[in-house]
Protein backbone atom coordinates (compact mmCIF):
# COMPACT_ATOMS: atom_id res chain seq x y z
CA UNK A 1 0.00 0.00 0.00
CA UNK A 2 2.83 2.36 0.97
CA UNK A 3 4.77 1.33 -2.16
CA UNK A 4 1.70 1.92 -4.33
CA UNK A 5 1.31 5.40 -2.87
CA UNK A 6 4.98 6.17 -3.40
CA UNK A 7 4.76 4.86 -6.97
CA UNK A 8 1.74 7.08 -7.61
CA UNK A 9 3.50 10.15 -6.20
CA UNK A 10 6.60 9.41 -8.32
CA UNK A 11 4.50 8.98 -11.48
CA UNK A 12 2.61 12.18 -10.71
CA UNK A 13 5.89 14.07 -10.19
CA UNK A 14 7.32 12.79 -13.50
CA UNK A 15 4.13 13.70 -15.40
CA UNK A 16 4.12 17.14 -13.78
CA UNK A 17 7.79 17.66 -14.71
CA UNK A 18 7.13 16.71 -18.35
CA UNK A 19 4.01 18.89 -18.47
CA UNK A 20 5.91 21.75 -16.89
CA UNK A 21 8.70 21.37 -19.48
CA UNK A 22 6.20 21.38 -22.37
CA UNK A 23 4.47 24.46 -20.96
CA UNK A 24 7.76 26.19 -20.19
CA UNK A 25 9.12 25.60 -23.68
CA UNK A 26 5.85 26.76 -25.23
CA UNK A 27 5.56 29.91 -23.12
CA UNK A 28 9.20 30.97 -22.96
CA UNK A 29 10.05 29.58 -26.40
CA UNK A 30 10.65 32.93 -28.06
CA UNK A 31 12.63 34.50 -25.27
CA UNK A 32 14.53 32.28 -22.88
CA UNK A 33 14.91 29.15 -24.98
CA UNK A 34 16.29 31.35 -27.75
CA UNK A 35 18.73 32.84 -25.25
CA UNK A 36 19.68 29.46 -23.83
CA UNK A 37 20.24 27.88 -27.24
CA UNK A 38 21.61 30.60 -29.50
CA UNK A 39 23.47 33.03 -27.23
CA UNK A 40 26.12 30.88 -25.57
CA UNK A 41 27.33 29.46 -28.90
CA UNK A 42 30.96 28.60 -29.55
CA UNK A 43 31.44 28.89 -33.34
CA UNK A 44 28.06 29.51 -34.92
CA UNK A 45 24.47 30.03 -33.63
CA UNK A 46 22.72 26.89 -32.45
CA UNK A 47 25.98 24.88 -32.26
CA UNK A 48 25.26 24.20 -28.58
CA UNK A 49 21.85 22.79 -29.50
CA UNK A 50 23.46 20.55 -32.15
CA UNK A 51 25.99 19.47 -29.53
CA UNK A 52 23.18 18.48 -27.15
CA UNK A 53 21.42 16.57 -29.94
CA UNK A 54 24.68 14.80 -30.85
CA UNK A 55 25.27 13.85 -27.20
CA UNK A 56 21.76 12.38 -26.93
CA UNK A 57 22.28 10.44 -30.18
CA UNK A 58 25.63 9.07 -28.93
CA UNK A 59 23.98 8.01 -25.63
CA UNK A 60 21.29 6.31 -27.74
CA UNK A 61 23.92 4.45 -29.74
CA UNK A 62 25.75 3.41 -26.56
CA UNK A 63 22.54 1.92 -25.13
CA UNK A 64 21.79 0.34 -28.51
CA UNK A 65 25.22 -1.32 -28.55
CA UNK A 66 24.80 -2.46 -24.92
CA UNK A 67 21.53 -4.21 -25.80
CA UNK A 68 23.05 -5.82 -28.88
CA UNK A 69 25.83 -7.15 -26.63
CA UNK A 70 23.25 -8.46 -24.12
CA UNK A 71 21.40 -10.24 -26.92
CA UNK A 72 24.55 -11.81 -28.38
CA UNK A 73 25.99 -12.87 -25.01
CA UNK A 74 22.72 -14.51 -23.93
CA UNK A 75 23.09 -17.17 -26.58
CA UNK A 76 26.67 -17.98 -25.50
CA UNK A 77 26.69 -18.03 -21.71
CA UNK A 78 24.33 -20.06 -19.58
CA UNK A 79 24.22 -17.96 -16.42
CA UNK A 80 20.42 -17.96 -16.33
CA UNK A 81 17.72 -20.57 -16.83
CA UNK A 82 16.09 -20.73 -20.27
CA UNK A 83 13.00 -18.68 -19.28
CA UNK A 84 15.08 -15.84 -17.79
CA UNK A 85 17.43 -15.85 -20.80
CA UNK A 86 14.49 -15.62 -23.22
CA UNK A 87 12.94 -12.84 -21.14
CA UNK A 88 16.20 -10.87 -21.23
CA UNK A 89 16.53 -11.40 -24.99
CA UNK A 90 12.93 -10.20 -25.53
CA UNK A 91 13.64 -7.15 -23.35
CA UNK A 92 16.88 -6.42 -25.24
CA UNK A 93 15.01 -6.66 -28.55
CA UNK A 94 12.28 -4.35 -27.34
CA UNK A 95 14.95 -1.80 -26.38
CA UNK A 96 16.89 -2.29 -29.63
CA UNK A 97 13.79 -1.55 -31.76
CA UNK A 98 12.69 1.38 -29.54
CA UNK A 99 16.17 2.92 -29.42
CA UNK A 100 16.62 2.69 -33.18
CA UNK A 101 13.37 4.69 -33.59
CA UNK A 102 14.35 7.27 -30.93
CA UNK A 103 17.81 7.73 -32.55
CA UNK A 104 16.09 8.25 -35.92
CA UNK A 105 13.75 10.93 -34.45
CA UNK A 106 16.68 12.88 -32.95
CA UNK A 107 18.81 12.68 -36.11
CA UNK A 108 15.78 13.73 -38.17
CA UNK A 109 15.32 16.83 -35.93
CA UNK A 110 19.03 17.65 -36.26
CA UNK A 111 19.00 17.19 -40.05
CA UNK A 112 15.83 19.32 -40.48
CA UNK A 113 17.23 22.13 -38.31
CA UNK A 114 20.52 22.09 -40.22
CA UNK A 115 18.68 22.45 -43.57
CA UNK A 116 16.55 25.32 -42.22
CA UNK A 117 19.67 27.09 -40.93
CA UNK A 118 21.56 26.49 -44.17
CA UNK A 119 18.76 28.25 -45.99
CA UNK A 120 19.17 31.49 -44.00
CA UNK A 121 22.86 31.63 -43.17
CA UNK A 122 25.33 34.47 -43.78
CA UNK A 123 28.53 33.89 -45.78
CA UNK A 124 30.87 34.23 -42.79
CA UNK A 125 29.68 31.05 -41.08
CA UNK A 126 28.50 29.15 -44.16
CA UNK A 127 31.36 26.60 -43.98
CA UNK A 128 30.47 25.59 -40.40
CA UNK A 129 26.76 25.39 -41.08
CA UNK A 130 27.42 23.37 -44.22
CA UNK A 131 29.70 20.99 -42.28
CA UNK A 132 26.96 20.63 -39.68
CA UNK A 133 24.50 19.81 -42.47
CA UNK A 134 26.84 17.13 -43.88
CA UNK A 135 27.41 15.63 -40.41
CA UNK A 136 23.68 15.53 -39.65
CA UNK A 137 23.11 13.89 -43.06
CA UNK A 138 25.69 11.21 -42.27
CA UNK A 139 24.02 10.59 -38.90
CA UNK A 140 20.60 10.44 -40.54
CA UNK A 141 21.81 7.78 -42.98
CA UNK A 142 23.51 5.93 -40.10
CA UNK A 143 20.26 5.98 -38.10
CA UNK A 144 18.41 4.48 -41.08
CA UNK A 145 21.06 1.75 -41.34
CA UNK A 146 20.67 1.20 -37.58
CA UNK A 147 16.92 0.78 -37.99
CA UNK A 148 17.47 -1.64 -40.85
CA UNK A 149 19.95 -3.61 -38.70
CA UNK A 150 17.48 -3.72 -35.77
CA UNK A 151 14.76 -5.07 -38.05
CA UNK A 152 17.22 -7.53 -39.61
CA UNK A 153 18.06 -8.91 -36.14
CA UNK A 154 14.36 -9.06 -35.24
CA UNK A 155 13.56 -10.99 -38.44
CA UNK A 156 16.44 -13.38 -37.79
CA UNK A 157 15.40 -14.08 -34.21
CA UNK A 158 11.64 -14.22 -34.86
CA UNK A 159 11.20 -15.51 -38.45
CA UNK A 160 7.48 -16.05 -37.79
CA UNK A 161 7.13 -12.30 -37.24
CA UNK A 162 9.09 -11.03 -40.25
CA UNK A 163 8.87 -7.26 -40.71
CA UNK A 164 9.35 -5.16 -43.81
CA UNK A 165 10.96 -1.84 -42.87
CA UNK A 166 10.02 -0.30 -46.22
CA UNK A 167 6.33 -1.10 -45.80
CA UNK A 168 4.12 1.86 -44.89
CA UNK A 169 2.01 -0.41 -42.67
CA UNK A 170 4.85 -1.99 -40.70
CA UNK A 171 3.25 -1.25 -37.31
CA UNK A 172 -0.12 -2.60 -38.40
CA UNK A 173 1.52 -5.74 -39.82
CA UNK A 174 3.45 -6.27 -36.59
CA UNK A 175 0.30 -5.85 -34.50
CA UNK A 176 -1.56 -8.40 -36.63
CA UNK A 177 1.20 -10.93 -36.02
CA UNK A 178 0.83 -10.66 -32.24
CA UNK A 179 -1.07 -13.23 -30.21
CA UNK A 180 -3.82 -12.36 -27.70
CA UNK A 181 -1.50 -11.72 -24.71
CA UNK A 182 0.80 -9.44 -26.68
CA UNK A 183 -2.17 -7.52 -28.10
CA UNK A 184 -3.60 -7.10 -24.60
CA UNK A 185 -0.28 -5.68 -23.38
CA UNK A 186 -0.11 -3.30 -26.35
CA UNK A 187 -3.64 -2.01 -25.64
CA UNK A 188 -2.73 -1.57 -21.98
CA UNK A 189 0.43 0.38 -22.81
CA UNK A 190 -1.41 2.54 -25.39
CA UNK A 191 -4.14 3.42 -22.89
CA UNK A 192 -1.53 4.26 -20.28
CA UNK A 193 0.21 6.57 -22.81
CA UNK A 194 -3.16 8.21 -23.57
CA UNK A 195 -3.85 8.87 -19.88
CA UNK A 196 -0.36 10.21 -19.21
CA UNK A 197 -0.51 12.49 -22.26
CA UNK A 198 -3.82 13.93 -20.95
CA UNK A 199 -2.10 14.86 -17.66
CA UNK A 200 0.88 16.34 -19.54
CA UNK A 201 -1.44 18.51 -21.67
CA UNK A 202 -3.36 19.72 -18.60
CA UNK A 203 -0.15 20.74 -16.79
CA UNK A 204 1.23 22.40 -19.95
CA UNK A 205 -1.98 24.39 -20.49
CA UNK A 206 -2.19 25.43 -16.83
CA UNK A 207 1.37 26.74 -17.05
CA UNK A 208 0.64 28.57 -20.31
CA UNK A 209 -2.49 30.05 -18.73
CA UNK A 210 -0.53 31.22 -15.67
CA UNK A 211 2.16 32.72 -17.91
CA UNK A 212 -0.50 34.48 -20.00
CA UNK A 213 -2.13 35.98 -16.90
CA UNK A 214 1.08 37.02 -15.15
CA UNK A 215 3.36 37.99 -18.06
CA UNK A 216 2.51 38.04 -21.77
CA UNK A 217 -0.72 36.98 -23.43
CA UNK A 218 0.17 34.48 -26.16
CA UNK A 219 -2.82 32.97 -27.93
CA UNK A 220 -0.88 31.03 -30.60
CA UNK A 221 1.09 28.78 -28.27
CA UNK A 222 -1.97 28.19 -26.06
CA UNK A 223 -4.07 27.31 -29.10
CA UNK A 224 -1.34 25.09 -30.56
CA UNK A 225 -0.97 23.00 -27.38
CA UNK A 226 -4.77 22.97 -26.98
CA UNK A 227 -5.21 21.85 -30.56
CA UNK A 228 -2.79 18.95 -30.05
CA UNK A 229 -4.79 17.91 -26.97
CA UNK A 230 -8.09 18.14 -28.86
CA UNK A 231 -6.62 16.15 -31.78
CA UNK A 232 -5.49 13.37 -29.47
CA UNK A 233 -8.91 13.15 -27.80
CA UNK A 234 -10.63 13.47 -31.17
CA UNK A 235 -8.74 10.45 -32.50
CA UNK A 236 -9.64 8.57 -29.30
CA UNK A 237 -13.31 9.51 -29.75
CA UNK A 238 -13.49 8.44 -33.41
CA UNK A 239 -11.63 5.18 -32.76
CA UNK A 240 -13.87 4.46 -29.75
CA UNK A 241 -17.14 5.26 -31.49
CA UNK A 242 -16.38 2.54 -34.07
CA UNK A 243 -16.98 -0.09 -31.36
CA UNK A 244 -20.64 1.05 -31.01
CA UNK A 245 -21.54 0.27 -34.62
CA UNK A 246 -25.06 -1.17 -34.99
Amino acid sequence: MKNKMLNLIMKGAILFAVGFSVGFIASYGEEYIQLLVTQPYIIFPYDLLYGILLTIIIIGYTLFYKNIKTYKSMGKNHLYDEDTSELMIDKAFYQIISLSSIIFIFTFIWFSLSIMQLNQVSNSIFVYVFMNFILSGIFLITSLVTQWYAFHLQNKKYPEKKLDLLSSKVNEAYFNMMDEGEKYETYKISYSVFNKMNVIFVVALVLLFTYGILFTFSAVTFLFVGLLWITMNGIYYFEGVKTYKI
Partner: protein, 69 residues
Protein backbone atom coordinates in the same frame (compact mmCIF):
# COMPACT_ATOMS: atom_id res chain seq x y z
CA UNK B 1 -11.92 -8.71 -5.31
CA UNK B 2 -11.40 -11.97 -7.18
CA UNK B 3 -8.09 -12.78 -8.86
CA UNK B 4 -7.25 -15.51 -11.32
CA UNK B 5 -4.54 -17.77 -9.93
CA UNK B 6 -2.88 -20.52 -11.93
CA UNK B 7 -0.58 -23.54 -11.60
CA UNK B 8 1.19 -23.04 -14.91
CA UNK B 9 4.70 -22.78 -13.49
CA UNK B 10 4.23 -25.86 -11.33
CA UNK B 11 2.81 -27.90 -14.21
CA UNK B 12 5.58 -26.80 -16.56
CA UNK B 13 8.16 -27.95 -14.03
CA UNK B 14 6.33 -31.26 -13.67
CA UNK B 15 6.40 -31.89 -17.43
CA UNK B 16 9.87 -30.39 -17.97
CA UNK B 17 8.69 -27.63 -20.28
CA UNK B 18 10.07 -24.13 -20.48
CA UNK B 19 7.89 -21.15 -21.44
CA UNK B 20 9.02 -21.18 -25.07
CA UNK B 21 8.22 -24.89 -25.49
CA UNK B 22 4.76 -24.50 -23.93
CA UNK B 23 4.11 -21.43 -26.07
CA UNK B 24 5.02 -23.35 -29.21
CA UNK B 25 2.70 -26.23 -28.28
CA UNK B 26 -0.33 -23.97 -27.87
CA UNK B 27 0.52 -21.56 -30.69
CA UNK B 28 1.10 -18.54 -28.46
CA UNK B 29 4.09 -16.34 -27.66
CA UNK B 30 6.48 -16.82 -24.73
CA UNK B 31 5.48 -13.36 -23.52
CA UNK B 32 1.84 -14.45 -23.21
CA UNK B 33 2.82 -17.46 -21.11
CA UNK B 34 4.90 -15.20 -18.89
CA UNK B 35 1.96 -12.76 -18.52
CA UNK B 36 -0.45 -15.58 -17.59
CA UNK B 37 1.98 -17.03 -15.05
CA UNK B 38 2.45 -13.66 -13.38
CA UNK B 39 -1.33 -13.23 -13.20
CA UNK B 40 -1.18 -10.15 -15.43
CA UNK B 41 -3.36 -11.65 -18.14
CA UNK B 42 -6.41 -13.92 -18.07
CA UNK B 43 -6.26 -16.15 -21.16
CA UNK B 44 -9.15 -16.65 -23.55
CA UNK B 45 -11.22 -19.85 -23.27
CA UNK B 46 -9.51 -21.20 -26.39
CA UNK B 47 -6.03 -20.69 -24.93
CA UNK B 48 -7.07 -22.08 -21.53
CA UNK B 49 -8.43 -25.22 -23.23
CA UNK B 50 -5.24 -25.62 -25.25
CA UNK B 51 -3.18 -25.35 -22.03
CA UNK B 52 -5.38 -27.90 -20.28
CA UNK B 53 -4.90 -30.30 -23.21
CA UNK B 54 -1.09 -30.02 -22.99
CA UNK B 55 -1.04 -30.78 -19.25
CA UNK B 56 -3.92 -33.31 -19.40
CA UNK B 57 -5.69 -31.49 -16.57
CA UNK B 58 -9.06 -29.76 -16.51
CA UNK B 59 -9.17 -25.97 -16.87
CA UNK B 60 -10.46 -25.70 -13.26
CA UNK B 61 -7.45 -27.68 -12.05
CA UNK B 62 -5.10 -25.18 -13.69
CA UNK B 63 -6.97 -21.90 -13.16
CA UNK B 64 -8.75 -20.91 -9.96
CA UNK B 65 -10.54 -17.79 -8.84
CA UNK B 66 -9.26 -16.68 -5.47
CA UNK B 67 -10.07 -13.81 -3.15
CA UNK B 68 -7.33 -11.20 -3.34
CA UNK B 69 -5.64 -10.15 -0.07
Amino acid sequence: MLKLKNRLKELRARDGLNQTQLARQIGASRQTISLIERGDYAPSIILALKISRVFRESVEEIFQLEEED
